[in-house]
């Protein structure tokens, strides 16, 4: 079966005055219908740029997708023109952003912002779009949706705004929903509500989800497949159980150790990863994680490892076998 979305060797760079920023460096992954993919990594590792590249929303200039293919239902999105791409955005692939406070236009009513896509993509009349918008608002759990149609974003709380954003993204029933850290700006109880909402909607509408986060805890109960990114590279990928029960990349290991756990003593200090992610303007020749890696061997500083399988669907990019601590 051909996958719904296949990203092959995608590379995106930004040409700035300071030099070229190597934001995404040849990543590949596939997404099946109805599947949920988690993309994990710390800030500035290319998670958002990789999905914005899929949507072709990288500002050009300075950004440029320099290589790769993004095949959606057999069609390479990178070869489409802007008008064709507009038909994909919203209708086939939609996106929810991190901060619901800034993602809604403050001077337009939420009703208008949601119905806009319905009128543009689905050819609905004002009346139909209005009725559908109220339905969508109810679907995402906005109380008194019909009354709130005319309200402005500032009249909603953060969690409610994120629900509005989700309603907006789902308005045209996309096959893929990209959620770019949609819960980062919300407090914990609201986070849980939003995650449950997306899960419920995913199962009900049968759409695929790409969930980007720096929080491995969120991904565990949500995704089937997980990609761990570092400095624009995929360093580990696998089924969600592979990543949590049998992490093989030193970076994934370190990330998991830095998570607080209920079964560990509260006296214990959380582990941190020393150092900072590399400057994407000036990537080291070897493995980008090598300078911070406790398993580092000589080879790591000279050669950047390719992804290679360590299990059925489990791949890592590392010269070292962390189970033995020796070079493979």
């Amino acid at each position: 079966m051909t996958p719904l979305l296949e990203v092959r060797d995608l590379a995106t760079r930004f040409h700035t005055l300071d030099g070229t920023v190597y934001a995404v460096n040849g990543i590949s992954y596939t997404l099946e219908e109805g599947q949920t993919l988690g993309i994990v990594g710390e800030s500035g590792c290319g998670k958002s740029v990789s999905v914005l590249s899929v949507m072709r929303l990288i500002p050009e200039p300075p950004g440029k997708i320099v290589a790769g293919q993004v095949i959606y239902r057999g069609q390479d999105l990178l070869t489409l023109d802007e008008a064709q791409m507009r038909q994909i955005r919203g209708k086939e692939i939609a996106m929810v952003f991190q901060d619901p406070m800034t993602s809604l236009n403050p001077v337009l009513t939420i009703g208008r912002q949601i119905s806009e896509a319905l009128i543009a993509h689905m050819g609905m009349s004002q009346e139909q779009a209005r009725a559908r918008t109220v339905e969508l608002l109810e679907m995402v759990g906005i109380p008194q949706a019909a009354d709130r149609y005319r309200d402005y974003p500032h009249q909603f709380s953060g969690g409610m705004r994120q629900r509005v954003m989700i309603a907006m993204a789902l308005s045209c029933m996309p096959s893929i929903l990209i959620a770019d850290e949609p819960t980062t700006a919300l407090d914990v109880t609201i986070q849980a509500q939003i995650i449950d909402l997306v899960k419920a909607l995913r199962d009900r509408l049968g759409m695929a989800v790409i969930w980007i986060t720096h929080d491995l805890g969120i991904i565990a109960g949500l995704a089937e497949k997980v990609i761990v990114m570092y400095a624009g590279f995929i360093v580990e990928r696998g089924e969600v159980d592979d990543i949590y029960d049998d992490p093989r990349h030193p970076y994934t290991l370190a990330l998991l150790k830095s998570l607080p756990r209920v079964d560990r003593s509260s006296q214990e200090r959380l582990a941190t990863i020393p150092g900072l992610p590399p400057d994407l303007l000036d990537l080291p020749p070897g493995c980008p994680f090598a300078p911070r890696c406790i398993y580092r061997v000589e080879r790591c500083l000279q050669e950047n490892p390719q992804l290679k399988p360590v299990g059925l669907h489990h791949e890592i990019a590392c010269w070292v076998d962390v189970t033995t601590g020796r070079e493979q």
Binding site: A94, T102, P106, V107, A120, R148, M160
Partner: protein
């Protein structure tokens, strides 16, 4: 955001915050607090009624009727504002002149706003080479003194546009010339303001969010960014009306503006120059009307500026 005790009964939800007022209600509340601006609004309404309703009582032909036997008569029961150098009734002429002056002010600003917003929006949204070209052009226009440009263009276009009939009235072609000249020499400030606003607004996340649902560039410019920069545009347009009326008065005073017999408050001052002492009613009435209009509009503009400025929301 302002959340006052005046919560509305409607739209109660499961949320903790009381439903705040809509942006329009907020703006109106802040505007009302500005006493001078409210006075300005009333003054403007009065002036518009003066020139519109007044026209129901005197005919235009009466306003243009010359009777040299009655020239330079001081205010009397028959001619409450006196008569001018060729015996026309000044009251009737201020009524019809007011219509033309206000019309010129409004339409000149319309031209100014359309050109300014168009150039500013395109330059700010697309950036790059388009921005550079449009902004260099704007700067070039800035560097030509507006007064000089006004006089040259007025002289150049004078008489080239025929009179037109509209709503059963005849407008001298010079009215249209003046509207275009005033509009086309005053859009640069607005273009710069709009460009600056667009430059920052287009980077906002809600614009990216709009793009992810397939919104086109045109829709983003018109439906998403423009409503966000309405405040400076409205203020600039309001104040623009006042300056257009003043500029019209200025070039008409120099005899290059709207040509007689069509009256404007500006060209009524033209003939008054030689009679400043001997027949002050020639300039007092149209002069006062100009000053009142400009003052009223400026007060309204100040009030709007405060009311529409999002940074004064807490007030």
């Amino acid at each position: 955001m302002e959340t006052t005790g005046e919560s509305l009964a409607l739209g109660v939800s499961g949320e903790a915050e009381p439903p705040p007022l809509s942006p329009r209600q907020l703006i109106w509340r802040r505007f009302r607090r500005h006493k001078m601006a409210v006075a300005g609004i009333f003054m403007l309404i009065f002036l518009i009624l003066y020139s519109v309703v007044g026209a129901l009582f005197v005919s235009e032909s009466y306003a243009n009727y010359t009777d040299t036997t009655k020239r330079l008569q001081p205010p009397s029961a028959e001619h409450p504002f006196g008569t001018d150098t060729v015996g026309r009734d000044i009251l009737a002429r201020t009524i019809y002149g007011g219509q033309i002056s206000l019309l010129i002010g409004l339409f000149a600003v319309l031209v100014e706003t359309v050109v300014g917003v168009l150039i500013g929006a395109i330059a700010g949204y697309y950036g790059g080479a388009i921005d550079s070209i449009l902004m260099r052009f704007t700067e070039a226009m800035f560097n030509i003194p507006q007064l000089f440009l006004l006089l040259v263009m007025a002289k150049f276009f004078a008489g080239k546009i025929p009179t037109i009939q509209l709503l059963g009235r005849t407008f001298s072609g010079s009215v249209i010339v003046i509207i275009l000249i005033l509009g086309l020499t005053s859009w640069m400030y607005l273009a710069r303001i709009v460009r600056a606003d667009f430059l920052s607004l287009k980077e906002r996340e809600f614009i990216l969010a709009a793009r992810t649902i397939g919104t086109s560039n045109l829709e983003i410019i018109v439906q998403h960014i423009l409503p966000n920069s309405m405040a400076p545009i409205i203020v600039s347009a309001t104040l623009g009306v006042a300056s257009a009326i003043l500029s019209e008065a200025y070039i008409s005073f120099l005899g290059l503006g709207v040509q007689p017999p069509t009256a404007t408050w500006g060209n009524m001052l033209d003939g008054a120059y030689n009679y400043i002492d001997s027949a002050p009613w020639l300039w007092i009435f149209p002069g006062t009307l100009i000053v009142l209009t400009v003052l009223a509009i400026n007060f309204v503009g100040d009030g709007l500026r405060d009311a529409l400025d999002p940074r004064t929301l807490a007030a």
